[in-house]
């Protein structure tokens, strides 16, 4: 078994994902793949990439759900079934069961910033960590036989060869909808912490008691069009266009 760090810095690096603006475009999914297949650890392999049973290792995936809210707004023939695009990667939990379950010490949580990583040299590919993760956020790479997971682009965020503004995870750098934010969730004054406080950011499945670092921002409240303030018809607009023409004349005289 592996221990979580005994002494930790207050720093908790992680992601804040805004479900109000995520359109499910998969930009983050592929950007993650292309960065991480040539970066930390083994490549992210693809099996039968042009075959009838293609699969591959991805550290970030998007799941799309259809939900029908109770008492939703009904518009004509269409109801108010909603589509929610839900990006999901490792949440870098504070009480990460994937770490404590690891028999070799390969899975660990960094004391310095809270990032959960796999030391691939120590990983024996037993898969216990994936089994223990409530979020299904770890993927076994079939070619390398080691467990892969989100590194929070640890080799970008501290990378001194990159411009300061590029020292963010690849998924954050690329997101066209600005739905992904990176920062220190341990600092209540950080931009991401403020965002979470203002928008009611929430933990995914808090009942698992893993205390995830990553947070999700819920969709903003919506108001129906049918409840928009009604317009007041032209008082003179009695019949056909005559009322309109009278209004037009009067209004033009005022211009």
């Amino acid at each position: 078994m592996t221990s979580l760090p005994q002494t930790r810095s207050a720093k908790k690096l992680g992601l804040v994902i805004d479900l109000d603006v995520c359109v499910g475009c998969h930009a983050c999914v592929i950007s993650c793949k292309e960065w991480n297949t040539g970066a930390y650890g083994n490549a992210l392999s693809d099996q039968h990439p042009y075959g009838d049973d293609v699969s591959g290792t991805f550290l970030n995936r998007i799941h799309s759900f259809e939900v029908v809210p109770d008492g939703g707004q009904v518009i004509g023939e269409a109801g108010d079934a909603r589509v929610v695009h839900f990006p999901k990667s490792c949440l870098h939990c504070e009480d990460a069961p994937c770490v404590t379950v690891c028999p070799t010490g390969a899975s660990y949580k960094r004391a310095e910033d809270g990032i959960v990583l796999v030391d691939e040299d120590k990983c024996i590919g037993c898969g216990l960590c994936a089994w223990s993760c409530a979020y299904g956020a770890r993927e076994m790479d079939l070619a390398a036989g080691v467990m892969k997971k989100c590194t929070l682009c640890v080799d970008r965020i501290y990378n001194e060869t990159l411009q300061q503004e590029d020292r963010v995870p690849s998924c954050v750098r690329t997101c066209p909808a600005n739905a992904r934010h990176y920062g220190d969730l341990g600092d209540p004054a950080s931009e991401v912490s403020v965002m979470v406080a203002e928008r009611g950011g929430f933990d995914l499945m808090p009942e698992q008691e893993t205390r995830p670092t990553n947070k999700y921002l819920p969709p903003r409240a919506r108001t129906s069009l049918a409840s928009a303030a009604p317009m007041i018809p032209l008082a003179e607009n009695t019949e056909g266009a005559r009322g309109f023409f009278a209004w037009l004349d009067k209004t033009l005289d005022r211009i």
């Binding site: 603006v21 998969h26 592929i30 030391d119 750098r173 909808a177 129906s224 049918a226 023409f245 211009i255």
Partner: protein, 949 residues
Amino acid sequence: MTEPYIALSEPVGDTIAKTTCYMCACRCGINVHLKDGKVRYIEGNRDHPINKGVLCAKGSAGIMQHYSPARLRAPLLRTGPRGSGEFKEISWKEALSLAVDWLQPVRETAPQKLAFFTGRDQSQALTSFWAQNFGTPNYAAHGGFCSVNMAAAGIYTIGGAFWEFGAPDWDKTKLFVLFGVAEDHDSNPIKMGISKLKQNGARFVSVNPVRTGYSAVADNWIGIRPGTDGLLILAIIHELFRNGQIDLDYLQRYTNAPWLVIDDEGKEDHGLFLRDDLGKALVRDRKTGALVRFDEPGHVADLNADFTTDAGRKVRSVLRLMAEKYLDPQYAPDAVSAETGVSAATIKGLAAEIARVAFEEEIILKQPWTDMKGEQHDVMIGRPVTFHAMRGISAHSNGFQSARALHVLQTIIGSIDCPGGYRYKPPYPKPATAHPRPHGRAEHVTPGKPLAGPHLGYPLGPEDLLVDADGKPQRIDKAFSWEAPLSAHGMMHMVIANAHAGDPYPVDVLFLYMANMAWNSSMNTRGTIKMLEARDEATGEYKIPKIIYSDAYSSEMVAYADLVLPDTTYLERHDCISLLDRPISEPEAACDAIRWPVLEPDRNVRGFQSVLIDLGARLKLPGFVNEQGGALYKDYADYIVNHQRKPGIGPLSGWRDADGAGEGRGTPNPDQLKNYIDNGAFWMKHIPEEALYFKHHNAAYQQFAIDTGFFDTPQPVTIQLYVETLQKFRLSALGTRKPVAPEQYRQRLLECFDPLPLWYRPFEEQGVDTKAFPYHAITQRPMAMYHSWGSQNAWLRQIHTKNPLYVPGGICDELDLKDGDWVWVTSHHGRIKCEIARTDAVNGRTMWTWNAIGKRSGAWALDKNAPEATKGFLLNHLIHELLPPKADGMRWSNSDPITGQAAWYDLRVQIEKAEAGEALSEPHFSTLHRPGSQPEPADQLRYGQEWAK
């Protein structure tokens, strides 16, 4: 526990090459990080005007596109029958001399026997120039089956349109209404924009039968019935008129609302504008009552004119005609609710919200400016309501008029090119009158000589049609004929059917570039394949005798070519995203860009544009050879730098003149491409502050346009709410104005060519028994795929490996269908078998699927049993290029009657549960061979493993 050492500061690659993406039509700037001669990482270029650093899934997956096993490897000559995929690889010398042998006699005897059509072409300035110099009238790109309704309706109305022509003022807009699907037309800018406006607290309304993608995050989703968008828009216009929520000052100044329409039934100018001797439209000065030219300074035009002139002409203002038309109760929300499937309360609410935001949330920018009449304005007034639409409105047979209706709606609230509103992108605005007229009549075509003028353009009346004295079409696609008079982008979807039928005449060579006509780019795919395979019974020759095709990948169309000219990938080529072509400007800046070879091809392939230039020289086409008959240009790069369309104007606007200081105008600069590369492969010239809005009437903007070389004289746009060109066609149909329309077209011209937007039921719905075909079936564009290109991409195909048919819950319940069941879907034309998935996020009468995921077995280097081929499917098999026969036996084209736009989204279907059987989508075609020396694709990828640490 000690934590392991991690190398945190490794350089990404050895070098960064900045170029332009080509994973879709968006054309973002990319930084390609190269390591050990391979692509390590592609990210968005932060400085680039289009994407400002972000990049979509397609863009990031460019690595897999570049290394795709479907890449062609050498020129191919067909050895088996068409469709077998059997080829031998030949040298470029052989390939080019064969092409010349086929093309030279055509040019010398009957140039119209070459049909040259380019698909998703981003080099139309070159391809059209080549075709014009070849002399054939038969050239166009793919706009006719894509979005010509949007482009043409926009140009005729506001001198611009959406996407490449204009965009919402994302920073300032407070209400954004998106019609239909838009995923690859301005893809990253719309995602960035939607996010920005939602974070600004603006409202986003999506009008789309299907709630996918962008619609998923809309504040309000209006699940409209397909083909009724125009009616919804007219109901909103009705509400705005009824409540007096229109911008009279804007209409009086910048539109033809006060222009006077002649009311003189039976006369040749009935419904045309009252004009003076110079042909200038007249208005009545509200102060003096005198008739004045519309562009005369110092008057206030009367919007409410209804009088008889001193010369005895009865006239009414356009605005009066509009009020009479749109206040009719047929457009009331209650009256259109059933047809559109949208509740009256929602329509009224949307109209009220548009009015409230436009007038109560008015923006006042303290920016003085001067209009084209010389009047000084202290401020710029903004109406922050914006719209965007592409194929959702466009791909219906009523799409032109629906798109017109949308522009009329934008205009009556004063929201065209104002702060917070729709904004033109340079070189737009450009009125229809400033565009060329089409060329292609017999007198324009001379063997051995160039065509007399450009192929494509905007007719201003029936006199500009490309028809003979009997009214017969002159182009192979019948563009600009009475069948589709304003087909400004041509009608590529009709070329194969017409060439096969020899109607209006047979062709000898069909030359296609990047157009997958044997699969997802054709209606009636099976029929199209048969036409490509059909032989003349007497001679045994193919009915379309010679097909030359250029593509970078082994698409389905490759198998039907006789000669294949293999193109490079987008990272191996020069390209030019030109202001002469399909621009990438932003509302605040004129922009253009290049691609350049950041990697050298490892195959015997050449960039198509360089090949075309080489062929031009071999054929001795004017513009491609010098006086001695030698090649003018070494390759496309040389052409991009040195070609001049007219003195000082070339494909690229940046770094002109010997010193590189010229912008827009200037002599060629030998270092121009280096200057572009050093600047990140793009050029951007900002528009001055006082010219940023009201560009259509802004004197400072018009001067900017002249200085930058868009025009030689000012080209202000007076927005054409009423389009006189359309009325001229109706007069031809009435027989009161020449040329008189042939009998069989008259009724349709009278019904559809209304000079004020109207709505009519889509033709397929009019022509089929809607009880037998009660449902709609449409496609949506997946955000992670571009047409058929994505499935060869190892990473992207894992997102969409197959496409189910998404069926509304109500229909599933009625037919006892559940996820994974198989169904037969039938239209008037054909039937397909496919797998379903249930959905409730959809209009209750509409089923849908993803566009172009379905593949033919063996194409694109995929395994013959790939899910794309066994479970993927196309709706194309259900869609015919012709409508069902009418009572008169005529079969009309399944297109918009005005522009010829292919009416993909008019499809009506029936659905039934399929008997248990093989889980294989139908129709299923024989497996194509991998062409030439294309190797067996890898069974496992570990891309980047050599860099593992």
